[in-house]
């Protein structure tokens, strides 16, 4: 079996009978087996994937197959799929089975995608390296001593190691884009309100969005087209029409692009990433676009703002894990209070507890205004300043990460160092804006460098067109 790089390639071979979807699924299942040590999959749905492949092979022959027919996809362990386990990679949800499917799962299945399994992630999506999972860390396929990024690390490596064609992840502060950059892939976070959060295990509800990890922009656009749009089960969803995102067009001739000086002229950025950004700026200018530096002095406040707000939301969202209604209950519990305290203390991992503690503190009487309300105000400034840039420019470009994939264990001892891995990815979700990371170039260390594009609110089409153009013009 050849390695496929796009759904188009798969479809061409299926239509010309060079292969069948059943053999493709078997090929992926075999690779999942071979590369078990990467620790990507928590659950593999082998039998049902093969059964669905048979049914979809027949549909393809009959010409009745959906938009995603031929796409074998993994889903992050934050996404509910009826009658299948889901655990947010946490001990507290070990053995939990979804009693309904998320809207995104319903929609990809309706278009004939095949879900091959649930993949590992940071516990409750809290992490930037996939090292906080109860089920152990995921290894980067390019170099097994490195992290794949996080929190959607399993999603990224499932695609990077060719264990499936695409993955659905979730992005709260960079959890799709950062691992995509570390693994040489495309990662898309839609505008807040574009994709339903129904059936997604909640981390920070004013940030969380589902999005794809893929090998190319077109597949990401196609998945977005399928999962986006109004849903009766999520009142935060926009009623804005969803266009055919995958119908990618060349961007207009004279684009106005801003790059944020503070993301390039900063200490701690790898010099080759800095050089790659300036090379891209020059190339875009040579191609006739207006590319100008803008200052965004609030960059240094983005990560602290993000952590005040997301830990607060998490402490509230995670109060539902009480040892009573579902999930883990401590065998040592003797009364109601110890049922809560022991189940939660034994069920949650260290990072999750740290964030619940922080969130509880910033929301508690006496500290609410100084921390939580303050951060909500800074969030407004970040949103307004970002929108101001986007009123003068079509798009913003910036690096996805300050470094390439780092060593396993390198940042685990200092939470602040780990939090700073999100430095370039938190601006978009703080402002509710869409953003995409695409592979830009290869570092001399052999690893991929990602470039990020931030679009206007609900401006995914223009952002995707441009991101596609970036990948076509190196």
């Amino acid at each position: 079996m050849r390695t496929y790089h796009s759904l188009e390639e798969v479809r061409a071979d299926l239509l010309s009978s060079k292969t069948t979807l059943v053999s493709l699924v078997n090929y992926y299942l075999q690779r999942i087996e071979t590369y078990q040590h990467l620790n990507v999959f928590l659950h593999v749905y082998a039998d049902e994937a093969v059964q669905r492949a048979e049914a979809i092979d027949a549909k393809l022959k009959a010409g009745t197959a959906g938009k995603l027919a031929g796409m074998v996809i993994s889903i992050k362990d934050m996404i509910c799929y009826k009658d299948h386990p889901v655990s947010a990679s946490s001990k507290i949800l070990k053995g939990f089975k979804s009693i309904y499917s998320s809207t995104v799962v319903e929609r990809i299945l309706a278009e004939d995608a095949i879900i091959i399994g649930h993949v590992n992630c940071d516990e409750f999506a809290m992490g930037a390296s996939n090292e906080t999972s109860h089920y152990g860390n995921v290894l980067n396929f390019a170099d097994n001593s490195l992290v794949p990024g996080g929190s959607s690390g399993g999603s990224a490596v499932s695609v990077q190691a060719d264990l499936c064609l695409a993955s659905l992840g979730t992005d709260t502060g960079g959890s799709i884009r950062q691992p995509a950059a570390f693994c040489g892939l495309v990662g898309l976070k839609p505008t807040y309100g574009r994709v339903s959060r129904y059936g997604i295990i909640a981390y920070a509800s004013s940030f969380d969005q589902v999005g794809p990890v893929t090998k190319n922009v077109k597949d990401a656009a196609l998945i977005l087209e399928v999962i986006a749009g109004k849903d009766e089960f999520d009142a935060t969803l926009s009623s804005k029409a969803v266009s055919n995102f995958s119908n990618l067009q060349a961007p207009k001739k004279n684009m106005r692009i801003a790059y944020i000086t503070e993301t390039i002229e900063t200490e701690g950025i790898d010099p080759e990433i800095k050089a790659a950004m300036y090379n891209r700026v020059k190339a875009l200018q040579a191609d006739g676009h207006t590319v100008e530096p803008v200052s965004f002095p609030y960059l240094k406040y983005a990560v602290p703002t993000y952590y005040v707000l997301t830990t607060a939301e998490a402490s509230s969202n995670l109060s539902r894990y009480d040892g009573v209604h579902f999930g883990y209950r401590s065998p040592n519990a003797t009364d109601l209070e110890s049922t809560y305290k022991l189940s939660r203390s034994e069920g949650f991992g260290e990072e999750v507890k740290r964030r619940i503690m922080l969130g509880t503190f910033v929301l508690s009487a006496g500290y609410y205004d100084a921390y939580y309300a303050k951060a909500q105000k800074v969030r407004r400034i970040i949103q307004e300043k970002s929108n101001e840039i986007l009123s003068n420019y079509d798009l913003i470009i910036l690096p996805t990460t300050p470094t390439t994939a780092f060593k396993i264990g390198e940042k685990t001892s200092d939470p602040v160092q780990m939090y700073l891995a999100d430095i370039f990815t938190v601006q978009a979700p703080l402002a509710g804006l869409p953003a995409i990371s695409v592979p830009e170039t290869t570092h001399s260390n052999g690893l991929s460098i990602g470039i990020q594009v931030i679009g206007k609110r609900f401006g995914e089409q223009e952002m995707l067109d441009f991101a596609h153009y970036l990948t076509q013009n190196h």
Binding site: Y100, T236, P304, Y307, F326, L358, A375, R379
Partner: protein, 97 residues
């Protein structure tokens, strides 16, 4: 702002978590380190800024008020750590005299 051991214990109770003595020392240090980092926000003048609370600008998102059964009683109980035919079961809450 410094968090001390008493405050760690108070927050832990509010969050319905508990820590042993070694863990308390570590979490106290971690929280203080992270709070120092969060306090850089005090450099930003927000005196004229309203907090940003809602990220969506849809107003009055309504749907028909129809009764639909999305899950059954059995499904509701399916993931409970302890249950009987009808109810979730918990350790005894009220002391017997």
């Amino acid at each position: 702002m410094r968090i001390d051991k008493d405050l760690v214990e108070k927050i832990a109770h509010l969050a319905r978590l508990q820590f042993n003595e070694t863990e308390k020392v570590k979490i106290e240090a971690d929280l203080n380190r992270i709070l120092d980092f969060m306090e850089t926000l005090n450099e930003v003048d927000t005196s004229m800024v309203a907090p940003l609370i809602y990220m969506n600008d849809e107003v009055n998102v309504l749907r028909k008020d129809e009764v639909i059964q999305t899950i059954t009683h059995d499904e509701g109980l399916a993931n409970a750590p302890k249950k009987d035919t009808d109810y979730f079961r918990v350790p005894k809450v009220i002391e017997q005299k």
